[in-house]
């Protein structure tokens, strides 16, 4: 029973952390986006509030709270209020299924007068066996918030925006789902953790019975699936309703799309959903095609482990020496070197690697937004159905043939 409560507590903490992470990425990304666009367009961007304008978004958040809570006439109250809440759910649920760092084994240790059993800690909201299908299913729920918002606002531009957005989302979901079949053919598993472990080694495969090995490259999916990676990334842009696919918000035609009638915190919630979606997109991209938290031969687990062992062993005595004050016996364990601390430090290093990769892709999102012009709606649908879907099919067939030839003996 005690371990149950411990587990529930740990899980609850993880949930809160992951959600806070998703919510906190929004002000950061908005700041990066505004500064980045200013940089690209040779302007200044927000630079008055705080250092480099960093607290601009805090000021914005405070402003949002004190905005009027507006409900247009003839709107459907329940659905109108439910739509922004619904916008938060898909991104949060999907992000929690992605492993953020390597799982660590915590051995038995004693703290605060009681013994905490051996425990396997995963840096992941939940280890779900069929991760890919789960993430696809959860993120396909995103269409509801668009449709609900557009319909409940009782505004014809909102309705058009919602229909456009949802038609676009579902069209690109096909290319998205199909480009993942190549990854599944290669790795034969739905589990994110296993996919990452399979990528965490030097690039090596057998080709007509001959072992080809490129020791200096990691075994990343992108080297096997370049076309799939491109299709996946482009489809993800459309799923997030980002430029060049941001037709639902084409200002000149549709005012502001499905959230025309929303203001203040409720509109902010749509933004949290959108940026959360970007975060999920980048994390998925990293997990499928760029090795997740691992860096293959460039940064092996042994290296990091040795490094963190050295850090822990050299720092712990220093702290014990420096803090030459009598502290209670029960806290003594905190400052002693142990295998657990080495493991935790290693996990954090890999988490840093993961975050670094994700940040690169997030910057790509911003960069593309200020580089490419917007598509016309018919071009957008043509691209989705007539270009990306056939290419994704070709990628699937090609992968199947190559896998068949390579693995058959």
């Amino acid at each position: 029973m005690g371990s149950d409560i411990f587990e529930v507590g740990v899980n609850f903490g993880k949930m809160v952390l992951i959600f806070v992470m998703m919510v906190q990425i929004v002000p950061l990304l908005v700041w990066v986006e505004r500064r980045g666009s200013a940089f690209i367009q040779n302007r200044f961007g927000p630079n008055r509030v705080g250092p480099l304008g960093l607290t601009q978004l805090l000021a914005d958040a405070v402003k949002f709270i004190f905005k009027e809570d507006f409900l247009p006439e003839k709107s459907h109250r329940l659905v109108f209020y439910a739509a922004p809440i619904m916008a938060l759910i898909p991104a949060a649920l999907a992000f929690a299924a992605i492993p953020l760092s390597m799982p660590i084994e915590i051995t038995q240790f004693e703290m605060l007068g009681s013994i905490w059993g051996p425990y396997r800690f995963v840096f992941q909201g939940y280890e779900i066996g069929i991760g890919i299908v789960f993430v696809l299913g959860v993120s396909s729920l995103a269409a509801y918030s668009l449709l609900m918002a557009g319909w409940a606002s009782s505004n014809k531009y909102s309705l058009y925006g919602a229909l456009r957005a949802s038609a676009q989302t579902i069209s690109y979901e096909l290319a998205l789902g199909l480009s993942l079949v190549g990854i599944l053919l290669l790795f034969n598993t739905f589990n994110f953790q296993e996919i990452i472990v399979l990528q965490d080694k030097a690039l090596a495969f057998s080709f007509f019975g001959q072992e080809v090995s490129l020791g200096w490259l990691p075994n990343w999916g992108v080297f096997y699936q370049p076309l799939g990676a491109i299709i996946f990334f482009a489809a993800m842009f459309a799923e997030c309703n980002r430029l060049p696919f941001d037709l639902p918000e084409a200002e000149a035609e549709l005012v502001a799309g499905y959230h025309t009638e929303y203001g203040g915190l409720k509109m902010n919630m749509f933004y949290i959903g959108e940026y959360g979606h970007m975060l999920v997109a980048s994390a998925l991209m990293v997990t499928f095609y760029f090795g997740g938290y691992s860096l293959g031969p460039w940064l092996t687990e042994e290296t990091v482990n040795g490094l963190s062992q050295w850090i822990v062993e050299s720092i712990s005595p220093t702290i014990v020496y420096l803090m030459d004050i009598p502290f209670p016996e029960s806290f003594a364990a905190i400052f002693e070197a142990s295998q657990n601390k080495v493991n935790i430090l290693t996990a954090f290093v890999f988490h840093g690697v993961f975050l670094g990769k994700v940040l690169i892709f997030l910057w790509l999102f911003v960069h593309v937004r200020w580089t490419l012009p917007r598509f016309r709606y018919d071009q957008l649908m043509d691209l989705g159905w007539k270009t990306m879907l056939p290419w994704a099919l070709a990628n699937t067939i090609l992968t199947a043939i190559v896998v068949l030839v390579m693995r058959m003996n």
């Binding site: 659905v79 066996g129 299908v133 789960f134 299913g137 396909s140 509801y144 609900m148 319909w151």
Partner: protein, 175 residues
């Protein structure tokens, strides 16, 4: 204990939203409630060690079919129905009674034969949740291969049929 509580929460949610689905006046509300019902059912499937089917339920039912329903309802007249239910007290009572009869027959069958099959207490064993997706795939492509190909053909026919219906005179896309 935990799992029983979990089951009862899910079951309550499913029943409440299913009830809302068949009683809400506005068809769009019906569709949204049905979507919530289906999401909860997907989680029930996850709990029943059928994770792949749960995922498919999320992708196909909640993510595609119900979105189609919501979109179609938005294309229709947006005013909610004044009378959502068919009229007639006698026929209404008859309908309720026949539904009750079906439920009685079903529950009778459940409680009479549950012990007979020897399933009520635990059952012989469960499929291993880790291996089910792969076993399911292998079974699908050996034993059920013909049905699988037939379904592919059916989907093609439905796609052609939907376009054809939209083309006929007075259809959705007729000029």
């Amino acid at each position: 204990m935990m799992s029983a509580i979990f089951f009862y929460i899910l079951a309550t949610l499913i029943l409440v939203f299913a009830y809302k689905t068949i009683t809400a006046n506005n068809p769009i509300h019906c569709a949204l409630y049905l979507a919530i019902t289906m999401i909860n059912l997907a989680f029930l499937f996850f709990g029943l060690n059928a994770p792949f089917i749960g995922g498919v339920q999320l992708v196909v039912y909640a993510g595609a079919v119900m979105v189609l329903f919501v979109m179609v309802l938005m294309l229709f007249d947006l005013k909610s129905e004044i009378r959502a239910f068919s009229r007639g007290l006698f026929s209404g009572l008859l309908k309720i009674a026949s539904a009750g009869l079906i439920f009685g027959i079903l529950s009778n069958a459940i409680f009479k034969t549950g012990d007979l099959l020897g399933l009520a207490s635990g059952g012989p064993g469960m499929p291993d949740p880790a291996g089910t997706s792969r076993d399911l795939a292998i079974m699908l492509f050996t034993k059920y291969l013909f049905a699988f190909e037939a379904l592919g053909l059916l989907l093609l026919l439905v796609a052609v049929g939907a376009v054809a219906v939209s083309r006929i005179k007075g259809g959705t896309h007729a000029n």
